[in-house]
Amino acid sequence: MATMTDPEGGTFRPSMLLYDSRYRSATIQIVALIGFLLLIGWLVNNTVQNLADLGKSVGFGFLGERAGYDINQRLLEYSSNDSHLRASLLGLLNTLLVAVAGCALATIVGVVVGVLRLSSNWLVARIMTVYVEMFRNVPVLLWIVLSMAILIETLPPPSAYRGDEPAANMIVGESIALTNRGIYVPEPLFGRMDEDGGFVSWRHGLGDVSLFGDASLRFDVSLDLIAILATLVAGLLVSGLIRKRADRIQNATGLRPRTWYWRWGVVLIPLVLLLWVLGFYLGKPALQGFNFQGGTHLRNSFIALWLALSFYTAAFIAEIVRGGILAISHGQTEAAAALGLRQRRIMSLVVLPQALRVIIPPLISQYLNLTKNSSLAIAVGYMDLTGTLMGITLNQSGRELETVLLTMLIYLLISLSISGAMNIYNNSVKLKER
């Protein structure tokens, strides 16, 4: 625009704001911004006025008040005397739990189905097609409700395990109980057995460390878990060193020393030793009173939500995987074969790295969808963020504005961090064109 010099030097006419291309874009933007701010101001003004009419104030003080309700699935310690804030925190953790577990299962199922859809076996390929179409074309809410109904109606109640000749039996060495209240699996416990078979005083191994005292965000950290993780990481590091050394020797001499037993050994032996010292054992669930006691209780609501979300999302992932594999041209495989690579290496060195570049971006947006869909937990009574903060807390405190906006904000943060991770990945695998 160097040619468009203003002949009259410094004089400025208002009409230039519209007709002079130097100012025009700024004008449009400022108008847009003012319009936007006016809209926001209008909404806020309405809100303030409406709330004043209703005699309500806005504030987050209610989060500190006593929640008064119980949550069944507690990843942290919680009682009805705790605050709404802590209840929301537990809800958030439940959301994250089902999201992570769902993404993992959806990926596994999706990849298997996606590969099987390309199977040469006609029947298997057809079944997988039917599966994909069935799940994709029925609303996920219906699947969630249906899977809950299936769990409730098909599995036996705990009372079926009672009596001398029970109608149902625990599986896998009497350690897992499938009931229509959920699945009871053994839980890892720490404590050393005495000579008589009784527990010595420190039955909880190293015990827990409580952080943040009495605050709503307090949580306990299991020292046992930290010790185990530390041992595992140390073992893996040493194992990595051994591998590097083997690489070095191979590079220097051409011969690779056999190291697999060393590499397994440095990881496993300290771990087993540590577990023995801590007195690790599995606490099996046992029928006691109305329910199974002991063990870890995977509740029905969790399982139903988890399975429904996973299988629904897996149908989409399967299509992505299939598309990704089909996107790799046949020439690539043939070229790799011509280079003398074996079938397995063709897959791992040529096809998969390229297919992953196609697969992963849509895969992560499926993860995003799954996480957002987990808010449907409310339909089966899984106490996630929508069940606690935007559910019972909203209802008991009557603070619609604060709870709904806070819930949206939290989901937004989760989504943004997932898509942030996706962007980092995309940049790292982007084709570097020179």
Partner: protein, 338 residues
């Protein structure tokens, strides 16, 4: 009405100023229909039938109010609400009256700023268990799995009850009564807790109702009644006295069958005042003289409504109990029409 629908969809939202909230009665009259927040489905209390007509005990209150104000018991728009959306619907003016088995509590009255106009059903939270469980008292439920409907006072009562008695439980929160029933019958919970009326209604629909007992403990007071917004006392009065008229009608033996005869005038001045043949009660309320007569004719008096929707002749089979007239040992007691 229809203009506002289409314009609302097409124009920038929000310029359609309705009348101020203060005069609900004028709004209702201008609109020609009463907007009533109802349950989206609770057996006996509110549910649409196959023809899409709403029926039930709570529904009848709305019909009576519509009959009193507009002269037509069918001039009601039912807005199904969930436990979570009901208060917002009322507060924002989406409905004129909320008749949705809602418990009268201090916070709802004072903090949420609603006026409870009365109690149309005295209820309390109870437990139902299968007989096979061998439980005779709620205090024996230590470690039990309890199904509860979320979004109500029920879960707070439950938490308090188990805390006070120092016993543990596993709550299973459930959105609707139908799902709770399904879980309970399948044995996914040992007991189901909700208002005793709901328990009776639920039990009535079981394949074998005799296999289940409702435990004697009633762990809470649940006065359920219709409510309106704070700040419009004239409207609250209309709803309150419509409800009272239904209750008083039963007390004085005014039924939907004999009302025509009675409204020719009787020896009982109270009946005359209710039916508008004496005094100016209707005008005081801003209605006409026959408001209560129409309200009673809509679905009958309180007792008739009770019997028709949830009484002992229905599958739900609730006894009057606390909801009998005060003369019969119950709590239903209409202030005098004077």
């Amino acid at each position: 009405m229809k203009n506002s629908v289409i314009l609302g969809a097409l124009t920038v939202a929000g310029f359609m100023a309705g009348a101020a909230q203060a005069a609900t009665l004028d709004d209702v009259k201008a609109r020609g229909s009463l907007k009533c927040g109802s349950n989206s489905g609770l057996t006996g209390f509110a549910a649409p039938n196959a023809n899409g007509e709403w029926e039930g005990f709570d529904v009848a209150v709305c019909r009576a109010v519509a009959a009193a104000v507009l002269g037509d018991p069918q001039a009601v728009e039912f807005v199904p609400t969930t436990p979570k959306t009901r208060f917002t619907a009322l507060a924002s003016g989406e409905v004129d009256i909320l008749s949705r088995n809602t418990t009268w509590t201090l916070t709802r009255d004072v903090d949420l700023k609603f006026t409870f106009v009365g109690v149309n059903y005295y209820d309390g939270q109870g437990f139902i268990v299968p007989k096979a469980l061998g439980v005779s008292s709620a205090k024996e439920l230590d470690g039990a799995t309890v199904c509860i409907q979320t979004g109500t006072t029920t879960e707070l009562n439950l938490a308090d009850f188990f805390r006070v008695n120092n016993i543990s439980y596993e709550p299973v929160p459930i959105e609707t009564n139908a799902e709770a029933q399904q879980q309970y019958l399948a044995g996914a919970c040992d007991t189901y807790t909700t208002d005793a009326s709901g328990l009776a209604a639920t039990r009535a629909s079981f394949e074998a109702p005799g296999d289940h007992v409702i435990l004697p403990e009633i762990i809470s007071k649940e006065p359920l009644g219709p409510l309106v917004r704070h700040g419009d006392d004239e409207w609250a009065d209309i709803v309150r006295w419509t409800l009272n008229a239904l209750i008083a009608a039963e007390e004085f033996g005014i039924t939907s069958t004999n009302i025509a005869e009675l409204s020719n005038g009787t020896d009982n001045p109270e009946i005359n005042r209710i039916l508008g043949t004496e005094g100016t009660m209707g005008e005081m309320l801003g209605l006409d003289a026959e408001w209560a007569k129409r309200a009673i004719m809509a679905e009958g008096n309180y007792g008739e409504i009770f019997e028709k929707n949830i009484g002992e002749s229905t599958p739900i089979g609730l006894a009057r109990g606390l909801n009998a007239q005060y003369k019969d040992g119950g709590l239903q007691y209409a202030p005098p029409f004077r």
